[in-house]
């Protein structure tokens, strides 16, 4: 696992300071969405190999949610963004 994460607010930190909160790519369904959509969002997740985006909570640091883009095969970290910024960037697409 990637053992050093460079938090945009705190700098380079060990992974022990974070807790991983799951894939960042799935879009949360609207509150009125069908049960199937919610079931898919909550329980049916891909388990990709390679590069993907994941929520990391910097619990022992700035306590912000971050999105870490990393490769779960090579442990390489490509980028870390604040989740608020990630969401804003996603909305612009």
């Amino acid at each position: 696992m990637a053992s050093l994460i460079t938090c945009p607010h705190c700098g380079t930190r060990p992974k022990e300071e974070f807790s991983i909160r799951g894939a960042a790519a799935p879009k949360r369904p609207s509150p009125t969405a069908k049960d199937e959509a919610w079931h898919r969002y909550v329980y049916v997740r891909d388990n990709p190999k390679g590069r993907y985006e994941e929520y990391w909570h910097h619990e022992a640091g700035c306590r912000r949610f971050l999105v870490v883009e990393r490769d779960n095969l090579t442990h390489e970290v490509f980028g870390v963004t604040d989740a608020a910024e990630f969401k804003r960037g996603g909305a612009a697409e």
Binding site: C10, R13, A60
Partner: protein, 182 residues
């Protein structure tokens, strides 16, 4: 004054028995610090930070975006509260009873802290006046460099005992002494 008689520090049982003279490497537990949490409203981070850094008698500590601790060892909570509540677009709350403030100093301080935190505390990276929240002895602590070989550590009250014991353990080979300070 009655409040003073009732006050019992959470680390009182950890610092019992005889007290030696402080060695060069020393850990002091500040008996009654004033610690306020300060939060800025969205979009007002810069102005609140500026006001906080200009405030007298308090030392600001960085926690994260929009969030700081304001620490004072010289003035009372009422004074600090009155001063901080004048800052526009900020929310302040007294955390003095929920946090424990310790100060570790001495020539071996970086070696001692190297066993406690995983962050580079070299003076060129973590210079004087810098502060950050980081894992210290398995607890989320705010650590600030207040001098060349002096650091202030703020931990949640409930974790103070275990952090204190771990710090003393790491300091044993450096003859770290401990005691209360006002």
């Amino acid at each position: 004054m009655s409040i003073h008689l009732l006050h019992r520090h959470v680390l009182e049982d950890h610092i019992s028995g005889f007290e030696t003279d402080p060695n060069p490497n020393h850990l002091s537990v500040i008996r009654r610090p004033v610690i306020f949490s300060v939060l800025a409203r969205a979009g007002h981070e810069a102005e609140v930070a500026e006001a906080l850094w200009n405030a007298e008698d308090v030392a600001p500590r960085l926690c994260g975006p929009y969030e700081w601790l304001a620490v004072s060892r010289t003035v009372g909570a009422e004074t600090v509260e009155a001063m901080l509540s004048e800052i526009a677009n900020a929310s302040v709350i007294d955390q003095s009873d929920g946090r424990v403030l310790m100060e570790i100093s001495g020539p071996g301080v970086r070696k001692i802290l190297a066993g406690c935190v995983a962050v580079d505390l070299h003076p060129e990276v973590f210079e004087e006046g810098r502060s950050a929240t980081m894992l210290c002895c398995h607890a989320a602590a705010n650590i600030a460099r207040t001098g060349k070989d002096t650091f202030e550590i703020i931990v949640p009250r409930s974790l103070a005992g275990s952090v204190f014991e771990a710090l003393m353990e790491m300091g044993r080979e450096h003859a770290l002494t401990r005691g209360f300070a006002d």
